[in-house]
Symmetry: C3
């Protein structure tokens, strides 16, 4: 039976200005020439594990199930953090053991986990660029069909990364901004389930002392320049400004508190939604 073409996605905080990403691609193609390489992003802010973990979590599920996802946001490179392989339902994830891979790999339940054994590694390992020396060759080997067991030892304690859940206090629900995208849309940790599936205009989101009635059906539901809350493509509510930049205009950033007055909410009725996961 012909194998499908190996597919490797790449996500890093390396930027695209230096040679780092090109080097990793060269290393992969030298080992697995037929691999298809797809960039997710290389513009994660340096060291921002949480932003990288969200981007990976949001993108990976859309790829063919057997893809290998290579992710390197690695402020601890050269220290004691372990190089990691995780397996979700089918996809494999390769990167540092700092939580980066966790939200994506654990989407469909507890992932399988392995540590790449550097003492048996087949090439030299620099202190500063495990993307080149460890993670890219590991991804190439996995994409070429080697099982993780060929160069890893199983582990059961990969570092987990989670976000605070929304907090219900009487008739209001307290959440937070977890991501600000390029357009300045402030993505919250609040899902429809957290707010008891409000109809349009049923609730008020207060961010930076500014109340916004919502949710609305789309950005264009309000005049250009006005704030608006919509259910974003991630399955989470986001605070936006129609044809504007909400984060800049309202002073929102990751961690900004959001208070929602849900008129129809009753105490003791806790939302059960997974606040980071779109429903596919």
């Amino acid at each position: 039976m012909p194998q499908p073409t190996p597919l490797i996605t790449l996500l890093t905080d390396f930027g695209t200005r230096d040679a780092f990403v090109g080097v990793m691609k060269g290393v992969i193609l030298a080992r697995c020439p037929e691999a298809r390489l797809v960039d997710l992003t290389h513009e994660i802010a340096p060291g921002d594990i949480r932003a990288g973990a969200l981007a990976l979590r949001w993108a990976a599920p859309h790829f063919p199930p057997a893809a290998v996802h290579l992710a390197v946001v690695d402020p601890g490179v050269g220290g004691s953090r372990r190089p990691l392989v995780l397996r979700g339902a089918e996809a494999l994830f390769v990167g540092p053991d700092n939580g980066l891979l966790w939200p994506a790999a654990s989407r469909d339940g507890e992932p399988g986990g392995w540590e790449i054994v550097l003492s048996r590694w087949d090439r030299p390992v620099s202190a500063t660029f495990h993307g080149r020396d460890v993670f890219a060759p590991a991804a190439a080997r996995l994409a070429a069909g080697e099982p993780p067991e060929a160069f890893c030892r199983p582990i059961r304690d990969p570092i987990r990364l989670n976000w605070p859940r929304p907090d219900r206090q009487g008739r209001s629900i307290h959440g937070a901004v977890i991501y600000v995208d390029r357009f300045g849309n402030a993505i919250t940790n609040l899902s429809p389930a957290d707010l008891d599936h409000p109809a349009e205009g049923d609730v008020t989101f207060t961010a930076a002392q500014q109340p916004v009635r919502g949710p609305s059906s789309c950005y264009a539901a309000v005049p250009a320049g006005d704030p608006v809350v919509v259910l974003g493509s991630t399955g989470l509510y986001e605070i936006a400004i129609n044809q504007g930049n909400a984060a800049a205009a309202l002073g929102l950033a990751v961690g900004s508190e959001i208070e929602v007055h849900a008129a129809g909410a009753t105490e003791g009725d806790q939302g059960q939604g997974d606040a980071l996961i779109e429903r596919g």
Copy 2:
């Protein structure tokens, strides 16, 4: 007869910082695993339909004729604008019906036009990310060989996008800057035909009160730091500074007026050139 590998180009204003582009690529590859994906640019300024339309117009003709060009600069996402497929000579263009696709698709004459019928769409459609939910899957279906008729209805009134033509006033011709590139070169809407094919040094371009004698044969025809007018690779004249940034130094931006004194021009002799189209 073996089919050529499907080729899809991507142009958006999504930037490369967030997961948006990676998500679209995943969606495409899940539907059409053999598709080749080529990024045109994702750095169109948010919502700048005109800049996106020019970049698409300038890049698309260089690709193999049967390519599918996916373009998403979509400030009206979730509103009433239609999702569109246009067909030029052979290439297919997929994106919002806001003019973005028009200059590229109409290059070789009136393009065929279709509206993607969302009421029969085979997957959920969010209010904020039609790139993922509509345009990427549509491009994948077209690249995999489905005809537009399989999921579209024909339309005859796609939104057209054009630029003001140069205006002849006595012995001078008035044009405008239509694009500023990364190097600060200010691309005008003036072609050789508009200026009666001037020889080197035959005319004076006045931009922001600054006269520049031209055209010159290349940037390096003037000393480093001096302004220069050259016939750019798009087939249009551009105002540049040799080894410098003309837009910053001269205060030029999209819309800046350009006045050309064409010593050899005679009234009533109107240029016939297509001011946005390079001649291939």
Copy 3:
């Protein structure tokens, strides 16, 4: 014998905002539809031949040996500089004859050299975009199997590009910063051989009046926010700040002087290392 898939890497200073890179890819794919395209970087600062040459030098050796490396940082476009093909051990390099290709192509010894003969070129050549009109089609022809001789004439005097070697003055060695990466790490021209292979903590690097004891084993060997010197992935020492930006914090830039007091160094014992070359 089946040929391997042609592989072309791309490095330019064109940025990713405009259509330039997409145009080049279209030109390549129209000529060599099966070519695999891999971006090294397009974010070289406009006209910065030295930065481009280093990025190419650092990335190219990691690719499969028969790759074609297309590089365009070309401030002299349209002037008298020659369009160039160089051949290293196996790889081919295509770009302007301004030194850009030299460090990568000469890695394994004197490269073969050819000038692309524009008077016999098979398509029109603009004055401003040889990436589209000359270098991309040349790379496509080489990737498709044409030898350089098919459209070039041999030359023996390609422009060479080198960096100052470290200078030993009594008990101190004077070097310089040659590159600053996205993380603000200041890469020097100093290799272990230049410093007589110092053990950890054996020497003091003084940059911008700030002494840093080193080398250290990794960034994380010092507290977050402290300066550190590590042997970087390029085989050169780099001045960094653990989880910070050394160039910004210490005021370092390309050309900044570095003085190293090597306690164990003896006069007359010159380092022999190649200061720009990692050892693979």
